[in-house]
Amino acid sequence: MSTLALLILLIGLGIVAWVSARLRLSRLAGEERTHSLPLYHGWYVALWTAVPPILFLILWVNITPALVSYAVIDTPVAARILPSEPLERSALLAEARALAKGQIEAPFNADARLLAPAYAETQSRYDLGATALALILAFAGFAYAFTRVRPDFRARTRVERIVMAALLGASLVAILTTVGIVASLLFESFRFFSMVNPLDFLFGTRWSPQATVLPGEDPGFGAVPLFWGTIFIGAIIAMLVAIPLGLMSAVYLTQYARPAVRRWMKPILEILAGVPTVVYGYFAALTVAPVIRDAAAAIGIANASSESALAAGLVMGIMIIPFVSSMADDSIAAVPGSMRDGSLAMGATSSETIRRVLIPAALPGVVGGVLLAVSRAIGETMIVVMAAGLAANLTANPFASVTTVTTQIVQLLTGDQEFDSAKTLAAFALGLVLFVVTLLLNIVALRVVKRYREAYE
């Protein structure tokens, strides 16, 4: 029986179990009040019936291919034709299996045809076993749970415990993801650092990665220009745009604008954050960058690059406006209204109230928001890929081309180079740095925001 059919059968059995548990309960209980509603008894028995065999099936689906393959290897045909080289052998086995399942018509290796019947035969034997085992499990589970159905049985508590386990499991996915990220970055980074000295990487000022690192030579993996470029674009230029615009927009919308204006303008500004970054990148590269270059040329700056830090930073700043403004908005709104009333009642004007009371009181929240915005900006990729170029310059000239960590990751991993080289691995090391920096930024930002929230709650 195919796995899918078996799955459907098990679900069917679960439904039968659900119904029969309810019937049994109503027969046993009669008019008596039961501890748990029939529904929970139904679920309890259904889960016991269906879940163990399904878990078994999942396990089974993952291990049978291996078991079947080993069984096939032990057949006389296989002993005769299987090559000894592991890769070839495995390719042959895979093809034989595909032939046996009818997934392909012709194999790469003609020998696979000889092996296919053995595969088909073994596979069907194992499938039969799986079906039998699954059914036994289902009935055993059913019997166990069914006999426990009694009016005073606390089925609800049991079922709820399972629900809680599911909830806990879901929240662990976040941890798994974090672990996955750290593991995948750390492993490759270690390999990189075995080729390149970490100090050279972190403090070197020349970024010109070569695929192979010759001993005794500057490997060109000094990431300082990348770090600088990232900070220059993401934390300096973008913030010069985003902080004043975002903060003032938040102030205007929360303190001055009529509710109708606020209701409309806020979501409109939020669209700025919803536009895909690849669109910003295109916009920056094709519309903003040429304007900036021409403007630079017009004011006599020679050699203005068309891929300037300014173009990327400017557009990124625009993208970040809603982050700053919504965080500022929240923090200003979180300042108790009594502060504002207190100041107004002293005869302060609105702007005095905002500047001297509200913003200072909201400052930690605003700062936290800005830090989050910075972390978002330094992680931004596409705008820089498309608009700021690849030149790892260590320059403070906004009209020059600079590059960022994320851009280099994309370049290193999608450009023309061999895998496993220092160049590829460098991408993971850069990713690790990026991850650590955003982690720190976030922890600081969340601390700041939280402490400040607590101050008012």
């Binding site: 709820e160 629900v163 809680m164 909830l167 879901a170 929240s171 996915v173 976040a174 941890i175 993801t177 996955g180 990220i181 995948s184 970055l185 615009l245 975002g246 903060l247 003032m248 102030v251 205007y252 919308l253 303190q255 001055y256 409109i268 500004l269 669209i271 700025l272 919803g274 536009v275 895909p276 970054t277 690849v278 669109v279 990148g281 295109y282 916009f283 094709l286 519309t287 004007t349 609105s350 702007s351 005095e352 972390s375 978002r376 992680g379 931004e380 990729t381 596409m382 498309m386 994320t406 994309v410 991993l413 999608t414 991408a427 993971f428 990713g431 991850f435 955003t438 982690l439 976030n442």
Partner: protein
Amino acid sequence: MTGMVAQMPDRDRKVAERVPTDWKTGAMQTRIRRRYAAERRFRFMGLAAVVLSAAFLAFLLVTMLAQGLRGFTETRLALPIDFAAAGLEVTPAQLEQRGADAALASAGLERVVDNAAVAAFGPDGMDLISDTAWIRVGERLKADPGLLGGQAVIAVPASAGVDLAAKSGDTPLDARVAELRAQNRLTTGFAWGFLTGADSTDPTRVGIWGALKGSILTMVVTLLLAFPIGVLSAVYLEEYAPRNRWTDLIEVSINNLAAVPSIIFGLLGLAVFLATFQMPRSAALVGGLTLALMTMPVIVIAGRNAVKAVPPSIRDAALGIGASRVQVVFHHVIPLALPGILTGTIIGMARALGETAPLLMIGMRAFIAGPPGGFTSPATALPVQVFLWSDEVSRGFVEKTSAAIIVLLVFLLAMNGLAIYLRNKFEQRW
């Protein structure tokens, strides 16, 4: 209290010294005028910030529209073909069967069309019509097999050069196009092919459907994974989690994941899904998994806020009549928090839909000439398509890139609009 009484004489002495403030003096009036001026300036700065930000948005959208709308049209050339004389080895009966495309391709339709172009427009005829004009002719034939027996004038897509010359000029073909236009052989129409086709190397033939379908498949995977996991963990963290080091760790992870650069998720996908689990490269499945990990924290955070916003009085009410905590959550909290959760989900999904960098990492930047068949077949996604087209050699791709951006923006604005609508509709009902 007794202490206060003791100080009283001292206080009274000091207090009497102040003269009442005179608000009518000139200095005071000037001061007040200055304060009001500062107030107006400040307010104006606020307004300017809002207007400026909105103007950026408007400028961006208008630019994209202006550049992209032309991408939805195509230039067509009226091409007379004499099928009867061309010797096409295909019968009308064949055209009505399933293998019609193959029959036409092997019958040499391409050659027939090329010859017709040379016959109609002179030696440069083949440069005037699109390389794939014959496919359009084939479609006409399939729709109307009767044409095979005679002559017909069929509007076929013009080549990229002609298209460009007709739309914007300033190309080597300008003169030729003017001539054709004078002969009334040039028409412009809506490029349906753009909405139904897939990637191509020829700007006159590219379509957005392949990328769109890739995006849809990716989003389906993302939604199916991120939504339930996100909602369940939001509920767990907000309603059940004991305050201890573990939950702190989960919280920190989630908040951090929501801000981790998207490209890092790409690296994760590369290392875990592709390298460790051996999943197929370039597949929507892997893209969806990667984006789901990215979207999940966004949903968790929105979900927690929504759950938090459900007034505790509702929980008390349910607990007070003997509902268990799981019943409280599933009967009351989740239904009431749902609008908030959905809003967060839509916003997270919109972000995932616009995401490019992680998809580049897992190989969704390949050239794929047909729409993806399923979750494991190779696919691209809309934003990646935009990125790829922006890098194309041919100038014809500029307007196609903008057109793709318009399609992408329409989707995103619709999603954001829906989120805003939900938020406004369900905002604070209690």
